[in-house]
Symmetry: T
Subunit: 142 residues, 12 copies
């Protein structure tokens, strides 16, 4: 099983950005965690990060050709990018949304996810563990 | 580590109720799955089900005395029970919300969870696996 | 044909409660009317009343095992209990919503019924006759 | 007792129009059913159909002179015709609203009835039986 | 100066309809009052009443050929008939809206007038005098 | 009959302020018109202008002691001053709201008048004639 | 192929009504253009205009018996006539909505079309060419 | 004078639950305070606590038989329980709502009280003193 | 302890204004009641009334120099005066909001208090006793 | 005449993506159709596709230098990209919006087009023909 | 160039009021800063402060006679005073709105400024520098 | 002090785009003005422009490493890009939002700035001077 991990806008600053909200682990460290856990589960993962809505759509499209699924943290795009939601609906492979923070407990504008509505499921609020739980959701299906 | 698993309203009909939405597994079978997975993770679980908002609040209160955490599927109460949300805020132990279906993709009234806003995190959309992923989120913290 | 009649919150005070809105007939008298009409139609009815959302859900669940249909007056729960609506969707037998008063003519918050959305149909505004018309809707189907 | 039955817009296409929603019975057949049932109940009925809001108002006005009540299926006018609602409030005789389908379970814009707010009561969701139950509501009052 | 007076839906029942709200004067009596007052002001008036939105639009169109202005009481159409508002915008002659009751003091749905937005001005709340004041507004302009 | 004429905020700049909307007549000239017309109708008028919500309330209160009615142009206060509306409800004498412009045709925030809801009626859109028509509405009642 | 062209309310004043918005071509001239273009495309067209919601519904119903499609400019009815939308859903032949002006660029109340929601497609903003483009959409299907 | 004191959901955890919001006094201590103050005022009080909406309705119903009034802290039910509001309207004795915190200063969803709308009055924001002031409101009436 | 009592707009007409809503006691009589009760509680009070938002803000500012607290009945300003709310937040002394009527049971626009959100607490619905209970809330704190 | 055809996000997957909604024709096939039709109309077209909001804005800007008009299918950007709308307003050449599906008939969030508000007109609901009709709208203008 | 500086409600407490939000500088110190900066720029300034909406309107009116522009900090009036907005529109001289805090980042009710909509521009979020920047905006125009 | 100046979408067309709204100065000329003013103030500036949301986020991230602050004109992104707002919150250096036009006076959708909510302050409505004033806001802080 091959999965693509997409980190959306501002996640390149992980560890540095509002650490009280998002923790002190860097994106590199998070990717190492993800890769380690994936290896144990027999999953091949590739990780990418982009701040561009268009580049994320491109990545989702390409994933349909060479991946079995996608784990996406759409960051703030989660709340308004109908275009990313459409991209997810355009591809046949399953996509799972993750969030580091518990978006249900944040300000009004961040409680609705137009992206999650196009996904198979979502995991939110467990910090970096959100990614690992999402990984495992694929392992359970395999 | 001891966890309480709370199944909210209508989950006693699992397997029989709208199977295209919720699957064919019964609550008893689900509880067996949960218990087996928990045993492997070294977690002691107790499962309960109630259709009553008040009984669920009572259970949350009692859990603070003899459990280390709670996994709750509040069913439809998720969307309007400020009282259950307050109960979760009233107790010191962590609570994780789970849903069988992907509530973000359902009708308007089911997209907001006032209960999740009081939880540590949430897992939704993976059928019965949602519970197992939530269990694992506690194992990761342990 | 066996039917369960569920009287929701505050209907135990019928005859005493806001008589200009709900009339002077007591719940006992109403139940006698219902039973008499049912006997004529060849329907066996059982009546219950509860102020508890959970108990109403329990009764709906149990009805699926020993009744052919349900007539429910959900009272104020009509307007916010997604949990009762889910209970109705969870059971295979038909459910009809009744209201004593014409809810369409009352204040804003009482104009939408989330419970009726899960029922086969609804009858409202005919006082105690609302129940008798609902009974007859089952007779017509029988 | 004399009653006027008003079928509103598009009901002339009954049997042909979206049969999965509205059934296969034609308006003529429905009128025969209504007339038969009325005869048994000792009620004289006259049936009319119009697609015009103004003609429906005219009919309501005229009914106040030669009828003891009205059964109206306002079709889509139910949701926005304050003018029909005013007509009902302008006449002294009782009016009952009927709908073939369960409007509470349909899309948002069809959940509120400004016409029902001016009626004595409403019956919805029982297909053609909705009319027969409304007939009987008058018999009960007689 | 020639004016057309348009009485909208349900005004034919004036005197009979909800007299506590609209008074006991009949439409015929009102038309006599209007005609008398107009004569004194040197204005020729023609009065019509219709319950039909389309007929009211037709009358407005025709008025542009043989009248110098229109006084319209659009009744309930006031609140939703964009088509009547467009008709008023389509003709070059001035139109004044009148209401018997003080619509600003009535229920929410009657506080906005889409028709008045297309008129030169409006007079509301003076019972039958609303028409006489509107007449005079034309006299003042003459 | 004695009437108080209250000109609300910014009306002291009449003739100078947005003349395309409000005309070129000054407040002094308007007051002369009003006084002349009133004299003909046998009405004694006193005119005042204030930009202060509190002063307008004071004037309304005082008017109940020495006037038979009030004509008020509340200007922008029309749309949000519940306090002026309360003042009008607090006094027994009739109050009529006037506006120079046709508020129904202006932007959203100016379409609702909380003040008019407390008045006997309203006249809007006739420029300075709005006041004269309001005067006459009192003459008709006298 | 036979098509019915329905011009809705106020379109009979085309050429005369707000020419800066709707142009100077009369309805008769427009109908000539439509007929000429249709002849070239091998389509037989019949044109009608009505200001009445009910008459438009009647025409749509009749068209199902002797036409292969309808092009409708519902004018202002576009924005609130659920009854016309229902009529379109009631007939099997395809219907295309046209507007002379670009309704998306007009005021709030004209941005939503409940009628278009029941059509196969819509063309707006090209003046009289909107009709010709709609004609061609049928030619393409033929 | 006999009063029933109803403590709603989560108040059994008083002293333990979010002490920065609700203080450190326990429910038992609060009940002692209330009883002492009542004794001084010559009022007999009985205190109960329940997390169940249905049980609270039952208690309100019973109170009408053996109490002269009720003081209720409906907790979170305050904001959505139309059923409790109906129960209060169903009984003849006066009911006063109290809140420990100043709900007007809390998040949006807690600013409206559907329960208070059915009460005689409300006291909020004085911590445990809210109850004592409510007690005294009854003493003043006695 | 010295307290300032602020009576907001229209309260000078107490006893005369809508007596069915506000009672027949005059403001002078109310002030006597307040002064008497205060004397018993060992509190020195000064009473003022103003219809002006600005004067009320001035009074609040001045109170911070020579009072230990304020009791304010902001009347209709309660619902929209962010400026009074800011004034309360600008001063260090505690402020309590009172209302004669039960604002939660009144029309929509009067259910939210932007002023109460800036106060320590509120008392509503007890007529003139609302002030006396507010006085006592200070005594309890003293 | 030279036109730029801009295909927005996810249109590169045409033919593969939700074929029941968007048909089975690929983007390449669509471009061939467009080019053929254009050739017949004597129009030179260039086609591009991008998933990036910024790249689409760049393309619009560039088009102003070497094209006479633009046909744009903004996909999901249609509903929230004020930036693309601004780009269209920034350039002097006419732009026409096209949609494959009838967006007016889709879910709430897709009924408003902020992009269309900046265009000359729009064509929606004709599948690939939407583009051809738009092409023709330019031919008619030429 | 002569400018009027208007400080709105509660600004007289500057330095004392919520210093974490508004800083510790007093109004007097702020006025000195403004005067000094103005002198350097060759601008004559006069400063006033008022808590009264009416007095602020009076000041704006007077400014049109002896000033070349106004800098106004309307405080909380910014969000609801249509009357002040009208006053600004009534005078020919330019007005600039300033805010000490960044109102766009504050609670919902403070994000819209009805006053700014009537101004030439606004400066917010720079503390006392907001005024100095506004001053300079006039210098640049001079 | 080093500052980055970010010009958002469509600003490359400055001088050419809707000159009545945005003036005739080109971006190059504006950058010269900014650079000149900055030199006088002893600030080193670098200017960039991009139409891409992702590229703007990248630039903000990079600025945190080599600049002391940022002046950003987010153009239309101002109103919906939560992702740019997050980027600003992710970096420690201060950011100031500028707009050429007075966004508060423009259409509804442009009155809220989600980007400004993350900035230190904003300047709007002064044309190109908005940038110079923002520059100066940094000089004042230095």
């Amino acid at each position: 099983m091959r999965l693509l991990i997409i980190h959306g806008p501002n996640l390149n600053l992980l560890g540095e950005r509002e650490p009280s909200m998002y923790g002190t682990q860097t994106l590199e460290q998070l990717n190492t965690c993800i890769t380690d856990e994936a290896r144990e589960l027999g999953i091949a993962v590739r990780c990418m990060q982009s701040n561009s809505e268009g580049a994320i759509i491109d990545a989702l499209h390409e994933a349909r050709l060479n991946c079995d699924g996608v784990i996406i943290n759409p960051g703030a795009y989660s709340h308004y990018s109908l275009a990313i939601a459409d991209a997810i609906r355009s591809i046949a492979i399953p996509v799972v949304e993750v969030h580091l923070s518990n978006t249900a407990a944040r300000e009004e504008a961040r409680r609705i996810s137009v992206v999650a509505a196009a996904c198979r499921g979502s995991v939110a609020g467990f910090g970096c563990d959100s990614y690992l739980l999402a990984l495992r959701s694929f392992a359970k299906k395999a």
